[in-house]
């Protein structure tokens, strides 16, 4: 008897929702078995409760809240990009300023007052080739930085 109950146990839900039919033998067993008939009764009760569960409607302002969060998320992402870009620009300016300062220092002209005559003399004495290569590097950095700034302003203008 117990063995029959264990055999039927995995089928209880299918029997309760009507997707499986009891054989004549099984039906006779269920009719005479308190355990199996109670299991089926409970499974049917659960089936009925599941079918009757309330469907909670979303709050009235749900769509509005989602849209507000979408805007907020986009704003956060843009702010992160802006911050990254500003940091990159600051780093670029720092590099160029350092390179310029290095160039002046290498020419021995790093002083508060700029003596134009000294620059001319330095050009004569230190060799224009060496100076020109460094000036080219600094100038190229400045051009790249200007282009990056230009792209940024263009992107900002396009977004607005």
């Amino acid at each position: 008897m117990k063995k029959r109950c264990d055999q039927l146990e995995p089928l209880i839900e299918a029997i309760a929702d009507g997707s499986a039919q009891l054989s004549v033998d099984d039906a006779a067993h269920v009719a005479s078995c308190a355990i199996c008939s109670r299991r089926i009764e409970r499974a049917r009760a659960i089936e009925g409760l599941l079918a009757m569960r309330d469907i909670a409607p979303p709050p009235a302002a749900f769509t509005h809240t989602v849209m507000a969060r979408v805007v907020q998320e986009r704003w956060k992402a843009e702010r992160a990009i802006d911050l990254g870009f500003n940091l990159a620009i600051a780093a670029g300016i720092l590099v160029i300023a350092s390179a310029g300062a290095g160039l002046l220092w290498s020419l021995g002209m790093l002083s508060i007052t700029i003596d134009v005559d000294a620059i001319v003399r330095a050009l004569d004495t230190s060799g224009t080739g060496r100076l020109l290569s460094q000036v080219q590097t600094v100038a190229m950095s400045a051009v790249l930085l200007t282009m990056a700034l230009g792209v940024w302003w263009w992107a900002e203008a396009a977004t607005d």
Binding site: R42, I46, P58, V70
Partner: protein, 182 residues
């Protein structure tokens, strides 16, 4: 008013049309909220999680290739969100052997509790204890308009397996009600 066809709506959303996304939220909020609210008892938290689902949809839309139905993709996101919320249930085994390890309680004579409001409350609590996939199966199956095919696609299971799992989920529910929530 007729709803916009799904592929057209998705395409407009992909192009950054906010009105289309608003329409998409309006169209699917009932389904998403019902699925989540049936698993998460705290209504405020359920609302927050349902919003998270749509934020993920918004982020993922550029990568959505339209091979699956939008609703299928939504179910998957719901499963992921619920799994993150209840990690202990996300990895819970769906294997039937677990049920066999569970101590069996012989039914008692007093079954009056079945069918009343207390039973309803117990049922909700028992559902919360199910693995996330079982919760979505139960919650989804008993929502109007949910088909076995949709559930099978969302859960990446053959249809026969969906039916088997649904029966196992209900069996586990019955066993939970017989033991922990008596």
């Amino acid at each position: 008013m007729r709803a916009t066809p799904e592929h057209e709506l998705v395409e407009r959303c992909r192009q950054g049309d906010e009105t289309a996304f608003r329409e998409l939220v309006d169209q699917y909020k009932g389904l998403v909220f019902a699925l989540i609210a049936r698993s998460i008892a705290n209504r405020a938290r359920a609302e927050e999680l349902a919003q998270d689902v749509f934020l993920k949809v918004h982020k993922g839309l550029p990568y959505f290739r339209g091979e699956a139905k939008l609703s299928t993709w939504l179910y998957r996101i719901v499963i992921n969100v619920l799994s993150q919320e209840r990690p202990e249930l996300a990895t819970a085994s769906l294997d039937d052997r677990d049920d066999e390890d569970r101590p069996r309680v012989q039914p008692v004579a007093d079954d009056r509790a079945f069918g009343d409001l207390v039973m309803k409350d117990r049922l909700e609590k028992a559902i919360e204890q199910l693995p996330v996939q079982y919760q979505v199966l139960i919650n989804g199956h008993y929502l109007k308009g949910m088909r076995y095919e949709d559930l099978a696609e969302a859960l990446n299971m053959p249809m026969g397996t969906v039916k088997t799992h649904l029966h196992r989920a209900k069996r586990r529910l019955r066993q939970l009600l017989e033991t922990e929530y008596r």
